[in-house]
Symmetry: C2
Subunit: 305 residues, 2 copies
């Protein structure tokens, strides 16, 4: 009888979970609203919410043998301990995997959500068969995950791949980023940056999806904003490639709907910024899993560790 | 009887070698002139030159049990095969370690010279006891080596840590780099960049050592050039830290003679460029081994692999 994993992707207001088999098939996906980012929430509240939600799966499916969780925040290596989380400031050194495992009586793996997405893309998505991957998520912010030699890379304090804060502009017109700095790639290539940049040029507030529609119709501000996002992404990818000599990059998030504008701009600036022996060797691919990457990666991690 | 290693650090015109014990003591260091970068040199010429030189050690010291070589160029993982070398363009897919081992009848390890220096610094130098290290060499160019979880990191094509070509200026005044691009950190922080930047400001050609002397005397152009080198190094280190979350950085090369100007500038711009949770956690240390790091790292690598 085939063994199954329960995987969860946890956000500040929404928790998704599904049962996943070894081949990456997703069954019985459900979600629940939970305001985890409430300032007064405690570790025990989080554990209780997750236990209750996970039990709705576990009670009906005896073949679940492990639980994998993607969670926003900085984890200590592969310990399953959340050191801290920018959006959930109340949680510090939270033994998430250990505490939950004691309650649900199953092995639990927990890791940073963007790193889970990278693992998902490597095992089941656009980077299947690779051993090294730089994965970039374009959402409200720009995040990322790194897999080196099949191993998810966390850094010394779980803070690796602050890709969104690579600096791609140092001149006086550099755009302000949410981190307080100027010229971060996130200030150009996140979905919200695209919206605000388009507003600055046109005076019109549109979603990134509508900006893409305008660009397809030939509207010049929309084209400029998307091409500039791609250009800046290419610059940031080039910096990562110069350090890590990684040949496969995947990108996920709503903005990849505008791939026909993003990809040519990314490739042009990437190759322009690389030193000659590295040029034209890097594959930049749109995610094939998109918002399932995190769930699938969390499931894969339970089998890696 | 204590086992010994023969280690060599190979440049385009000069080969250094020494016998090294397990504790990192260096005995019997010798060098020989050899014009390896001559355009017509073949693999067999290189092997013959190394065999003859190494035999002058091996014949007198029967306790030598392995040979470790640091060589300028891109290696294929840990195979000891040189994929290519920018300064020795005649050598392609050169089975350096294997061919030499067949001749001298000892195990041979060969790896990129800057990566050897990183390993040396981690095992015997300023980063002793760490498991992760970003090592930067400030010479004619700016190079580097990366050790992650005690393992020397090579990248997919042996080209990892092209640190010198991280982009630290995108404005119209960005300085030209030897790679053909503008604004690389190498165009500000290599010994030759410091000399040429000082010449541009003052009209006077001085070595980096003499520029440091001028700076100590309070000469403003000299101070500016060194502080700018440190500022740009700090910016490039910040990019690497944001990707890799590494907390220990070592720097070697003649320019670290000017550490009293470099270090404060590095730390100021590094912390300014990092996102808040990473600030003030990174140690940037002057090499304690300097030009012995490569030999000691090449020796250490024979014991790692």
């Amino acid at each position: 009888m085939s063994k199954l994993v329960l995987a969860a992707d946890i956000g500040g207001t929404n928790i998704r979970a599904a049962i996943i088999d070894k081949a990456g098939h997703i069954y019985d996906e459900k979600h629940v609203q939970a305001h985890l980012s409430h300032t007064k929430i405690t570790e025990h509240d989080v554990i209780q919410i997750l236990e209750d939600f996970f039990n709705t799966f576990i009670k009906n499916e005896p073949r679940i043998e492990a639980v994998g969780i993607g969670f926003p925040g900085f984890f200590m290596g592969h310990s399953g301990i959340l050191a801290s989380s920018p959006n959930l400031p109340n949680l510090k050194n939270f033994k998430l995997a250990h505490m939950l495992s004691n309650r649900i009586k199953l092995p639990v793996t927990a890791q940073n959500d963007a790193l889970c997405a990278a693992v998902g893309e490597l095992h089941f998505g656009a980077a299947k068969g690779q051993k090294n991957l730089l994965h970039i998520t374009l959402g409200t912010g720009v995040g990322g995950g790194l897999v080196l030699n099949h191993t998810p890379y966390t850094g010394e304090a779980g803070m690796a791949m602050e890709f969104g804060h690579l600096r791609v502009s140092q001149d006086s017109s550099a755009r302000l980023c949410g981190c307080g700095g100027y010229g971060c790639v996130e200030a150009y290539a996140s979905a919200s940056a695209v919206t605000s940049h388009y507003f600055d040029l046109s005076g019109i507030q549109l979603s990134s999806k509508d900006i893409y529609k305008k660009a397809l119709q030939g509207e010049q501000h929309a084209i400029n904003v998307l091409e500039n996002a791609g250009h800046k992404l290419g610059m940031a990818i080039a910096e990562a490639v110069k350090l890590l000599d990684i040949h496969t990059v995947t990108i996920s998030g709503g903005l990849i709907g505008a791939w026909s504008f993003l990809h040519p701009s990314i490739m042009q600036s990437l190759n322009h910024q690389l030193i000659p022996p590295m040029q034209h060797k890097i594959h930049v691919l749109a995610s094939t899993l998109n918002d399932q990457a995190g769930l699938l990666g969390a499931a894969a991690l339970t089998r890696l560790q």
